[in-house]
Amino acid sequence: MATHIRTLSASIVQRAALESFVKLDPRVQWRNPVMFVVWVGSALVTLIWLAGSGKESSSFVLAVALWLWFTILFANFAESVAEGRGKAQAAALRGTRRDVMAKKLSDPAKKQSWRNVPGSALRKGDFVYVPAGEVVPGDGEVVEGAATVDESAITGESAPVVRESGGDRSAVTGGTRVLSDWLVVRVTANPGETFLDRMIALVEGARRSRTPNEIALSILLAKFTLIFLFACATLLPFSVYAAKAAGQGTAVSITVLVALLVCLIPTTIGGLLSAIGIAGMDRMIKANIIATSGRAVEAAGDVDVLLLDKTGTITLGNRQAAAFAPSSGVTSEALADAAQLASLADETPEGRSIVVFAKQRYGLRERDIKSLGAQFVPFSANTRMSGVDIGERRVRKGAADALRTWIEAQGGRFPAEVTSLVEAMARRGSTPLVVAEGPRALGVIELKDIVKGGIKERFAELRRMGIKTVMITGDNRLTATAIAAEAGVDDFLAEATPEAKLRLIREHQAQGRLIAMCGDGTNDAPALAQADVAVAMNSGTQAAKEAGNMVDLDSNPTKLIEVVEIGKQLLITRGSLTTFSIANDVAKYFAIIPAAFATTYPQLNALNVMHLATPSSAILSAVIFNALIIIALVPLALKGVRYRPVGAEALLRRNLLVYGLGGIVVPFIGIKLIDVLITYV
């Protein structure tokens, strides 16, 4: 994101405070049953105060009414603050969405015959020409050309990236700027439906619909609310009877009943619920991940299996030369020399790593292939080897079976010891490349995958969280086994094809598991569409981005782990605050019950364990605590309860201790403190 917004900046707080009042509209409150009950209660007590018909002193009724309204305002404030951060981010994004003039092509092949149209007039399927220095007018796919593009407006990453036709880097995003060269782009999104538009809509929460789990929790909260509604409403006839039976005191007043009801219903979680959800989306955005729905964020917490591409995620980019193993009668230096010669003109990362390794290990300088008079023999699918010809010297490197054919064709013999070297390397998970000069095999180069540092610990962490990791690789089984063991993944899929990947996902899903994966290529698209949580790399193709339900702007596949944690954190925050909210009720009973029936049954004062000063101070303290706790928990709701990668049992024990036991103890202290304060004042 171009601008990261601070958690609570002054402007956001100001605007949120204002919006809290706007949201007092009952039509807004109606959507949240818990808070709507508070709204009705507040209105009722206010009316009693206006009518002056309360049994209690007018100042007491007014104080209760005011604090009830504050309860709603505080909940509104929490939601507005959460939304405010999104709105500020959306405003920043909107700044990058300018209507630019586009060079529209009537024929993509003739890029010189364009005419200027406004970017907003472009439709899906149009072709545009974007020369250096211009802004890409909309989302699209590069059909011709290659260029460096500045995508910092979207990703916040200042280093330019290459976009080119064909392959996995063909997608361009509207609002990014071409820095060099030119592109012909086929527009893939109508105005208003572009990636930027979707992003703005998401961060604003404009299309935020409640997630399945949030709905289930709302039902539970509504149930609690109803139970307490029954419990408090029936208290009226009970107390009427009690007063008559005891022959003293009066029935409990409506004001006290409303106060009791509001204290008992889960207003803490009810008031913070939507803020928690919005903040969860927000944390994703902070991690530079755009989720297309809250449902996807929630599902991330449930993931059981992570499919990770080997290359780039588990291992560093490409394989690198790690050793030279000469055959008998050949020195290491001679092998290194031949290997370097054969790789000089090889521009693949593997080829380059051989040259670099020869230089580092054997001090062999890079030689200029032209001055040697050498002729490069490139790799072909037919010969499956590459090398150089220098006069009579013919040096080749390649897969063992290809070299065997080549050597035997020249009347040479492929030595058994080279075969065993090759096999030993393959067993280690390395890729062996045989080097030969003419009919003579000189030895073997060992190419190795380098497993990323710290990845093994990360996987162990995932295992403790109950998530299985599966490595996906195009390598053969032998190689895959070795790397899997080194990286510490639970399982792997070797010789993976797009179909095999899709099949693997379906198999796991049939067993009831939830799958997360990331991908960038067009051939990943079917698997991404099938996976439950699918993170597409922003650098990837349009097809991949459309198939996924999240886009990682940093294009960092390891981030899948972070996605899972954010999802879990969201659910944990909801669960913990629900527990806290319900546990709070115990103390509130001890405050209100003796106070409510003080006139009828003074003996009940034995339950006043907090020794609250007077019945009215007790009731007021409970109401004030109930309102203030919402404000006190806003930072926690926004930041989320910390997630630790430990087993479910340990996690539950910890959260129960903090939020369950804490939820019972804290209000006893809080209500007592408030009582002391208001009695003193």
Partner: protein, 567 residues
């Protein structure tokens, strides 16, 4: 010490029997025991049902409802027409409409609340064909619904949750009948009566007895001893968590419960099937640890309330200056056995009594009352107790599951908004029925008219009555005169709502669970068999129950206790 020993023996024997009986019942429901196949098939043929056919939850539900509706019609008709029917040696007249309605609902809903006095109202035919039969069928209904829910957990991606006719028939033939025969036989050896002979008139031991009636001094030399086919009905009343006694004073009556041994057997039978069903559940879902965990949660709560009850009764009444409260208790049982019975009969939705709960100390009476108000899930009724407990487990799992960062799942089934909706309804209805019913009764004149004692105790009587009916328990604080049109109707409705409006959501959950995939467990899955989860489940039950009823209890037994001890 003696009390501790008695409680320990009781629980020990009970828990020892859980596994063998539980395993046997699992075998019955999974069709491994078919030794009565000819008889079973005869029933199916006679009723014209196909027992192998799988039913989805809606068909299963309709089966349950029709079966119970017909039961209702039969019991109602028998009472209204008993003066025209045979086996009526005392020539009792037709039972009043409101009482018949109340009793019919009471017996089909496994509540067995008795507004009437059995020996002075019901003919032998009504008792046997109406009440005894429903003792079996209402118990079988509860167990069938539980088994359907169990199948919902055990199965995956299917609509079928079993066949209601097969479940009802097998429950009755293989489980309830054999156990009842055993118990009835044992009771007869202890002196329980089982006869069709008319009531006997015999001479008093101490005579003459002088008493006052309508201001006149009277004396008598003889008494009437009620008789009847009692032992057989008592057996199923205890085993099937029915509780409807043959005689008015229920198992305090020497013909129902003659000796300490018969008392022990009857107490044991109260919790026997509900406890063993936990093991059956564990077996059927393929993880017996889950069943033991639920049983552990039940036992923990039970022991807690039992302790409150025993200690309060032992503490006696400070006003009378006596150290033990023997009021309303039979001397042949004493305090501990009366307290165990009171706790067991209210923990399970049995409702039979061997002492009068109305005469307990305030806290001693609070224990049974609270056990009922928790929703009859601590052991609970046969079948209904465990399915109620499972509903609470679903709620607990939902909150706990969120706290470990996953969409909550129980036994491999994801708990989503549909389950939450149904579980909420199932918890909500009984709570609402009790509170609203009591609220109405203390407001209206016919409600207040039934109260025997003034003040907080009178309130407790009404609260107890609606708690008992609204959770299908059936026991009573004896003080309340409930055989009035108002109470017969109000309590009848309460019993009806809390039984059937619970079965509907429970079967809906069963259907929805059966359709779901089974998620394999991983270290990230919340384990639901550990002490931590058991503690959390107990906490959820207690907090939910306490939060709902504390205000009401504060105005009843709690304030009564404080008044008693502060004087």
């Amino acid at each position: 010490m003696n009390a501790l020993l008695q409680c320990a023996i009781y629980l020990g024997v009970l828990l020892l029997l859980v596994k063998p009986l539980g395993a046997y019942m699992a075998d019955v429901y999974e069709g491994r025991h078919r030794f009565l196949a000819p008889l079973e098939n005869l029933v199916y043929r006679a009723a014209g049902v196909r027992a192998e056919e799988e039913m989805d939850w809606k068909r299963y539900l309709w089966g349950v409802l029709w079966f119970n509706l017909i039961g209702f019609a039969a019991v109602y008709a028998l009472q209204r027409l008993q003066h025209l029917l045979p086996l009526n040696p005392q020539n009792f007249g037709a039972v009043s409409a409101d009482s018949s309605f109340n009793t019919a609902v009471s017996f089909i809903s496994n509540t067995n609340w008795q507004g009437y006095g059995g020996e002075s109202t019901m003919s032998y035919l009504t008792q046997m064909l109406g009440l005894s039969v429903q003792n079996f069928f209402s118990a079988a209904t509860g167990m069938a619904v539980l088994i359907a829910l169990t199948r919902g957990f055990a199965r995956k991606q299917t609509n079928g949750i079993g066949n209601v006719w097969a479940d009802l028939t097998r429950t009755t033939l293989y489980i309830l009948l054999p156990l009842s025969l055993l118990l009835a036989g044992a009771l007869v050896t202890q002196g329980g009566v089982q006869t069709f002979a008319p009531y006997k008139t015999v001479d008093l031991v101490q005579q003459p007895l002088e008493f006052e009636q309508e201001g006149k001094q009277l004396s008598t030399r003889e008494q009437t001893l009620p008789l009847g086919p009692a032992a057989s009905q008592i057996a199923i009343k205890q085993l099937g968590s029915n509780g409807g006694g043959f005689f008015n004073v229920n198992s305090a009556h020497p013909y129902e419960n003659p000796t300490p041994l018969s008392n022990f057997l009857e107490m044991l039978s109260i919790l026997l099937i509900p406890g063993a069903l936990c093991y059956t559940f564990g077996r059927m879902v393929g993880d017996t640890r889950q069943g033991w965990a639920l049983l552990a949660a039940m036992t923990v709560v039970f022991v807690g309330f039992l302790a409150v009850c025993v200690l309060s009764e032992q503490a006696g009444n400070p006003l009378l200056g006596i150290e033990q409260n023997m009021e309303g208790k039979e001397v042949r049982f004493g305090i501990t056995d009366s307290a165990i019975w009171a706790a067991a009969t209210t923990a399970a939705s049995n409702g039979s009594v061997n002492a009068m709960h109305d005469s307990f100390t305030p806290l001693g009476g609070l224990a049974p009352l609270a056990l009922i108000q928790l929703g009859e899930i601590i052991f609970g009724g046969v079948g209904s107790g465990l399915y109620g407990m499972l509903v609470f487990a679903i709620v607990a799992v939902f909150i706990a599951g969120l706290m470990v960062g996953r969409t909550p799942e129980y036994l491999g089934k994801k708990i989503e908004s549909f389950e939450m909706k149904m579980a909420s309804l199932a918890v909500l209805f009984p709570f609402a029925v009790v509170l609203i019913g009591t609220g109405i009764a203390v407001l209206v004149e016919p409600g207040k008219a039934g109260i025997a004692n003034p003040g907080a105790h009178g309130f407790a009587e009404i609260l107890y009555g609606f708690s008992s009916a609204g959770n299908n328990n059936g026991s009573a604080f004896a003080g309340l005169s409930a055989n009035t049109p108002f109470y017969n109707t109000a309590l009848g409705i309460a019993m009806w709502i809390s039984r059937y409006w619970l079965i509907v959501p429970v079967l809906a959950i069963a259907g929805s669970l059966a359709r779901k995939k089974l998620v394999p467990a991983s270290p990230g899955t919340l384990p639901t068999h550990t002490p931590l989860f058991i503690a959390f489940l107990v906490g959820t039950i207690l907090i939910l129950g306490a939060l709902t009823f504390v205000p009401a209890l504060a105005l009843g037994p709690i304030v009564e206790h404080l008044q008693l001890w502060s004087r």
